[in-house]
Symmetry: C2
């Protein structure tokens, strides 16, 4: 399975937002909807900083 | 390996942009940098429409 973990970068730290994310979709300009492999959902406010699929990591950061 | 294929949604069609994408990073507000598993690079202008990691698909769409 190729799901990834989503992290929020906050003051230099990686804060785990959600494990086993399957789907990432924009909800609006600054909000992202995450859907996990079990159908669990979470909304993240911020922007995508980077995604590294081979390492299964997605990083969000809060807007400046 | 958990890389994905990147597509551009254009007039209802899926146009393959790049295979085996590992890293996705914003270059600016409307431009994304894709890096493939072999280090190949591509820049995409548009926004992320959706990502489905389990299905290895990333969809971009051009700005309206």
């Amino acid at each position: 399975m190729c799901e990834a973990n989503a992290y929020l970068l906050k003051e230099g730290r990686e804060e785990l937002l959600m494990e086993s994310v399957d789907v990432i979709e924009p909800e609006d300009e600054r909000t992202w909807r995450l859907v996990g492999i079990f159908g669990d959902r979470k909304t993240v406010r911020g922007r995508i900083k980077s995604m590294n699929l081979v390492n299964h990591k997605i990083f969000f950061e809060e807007d400046a």
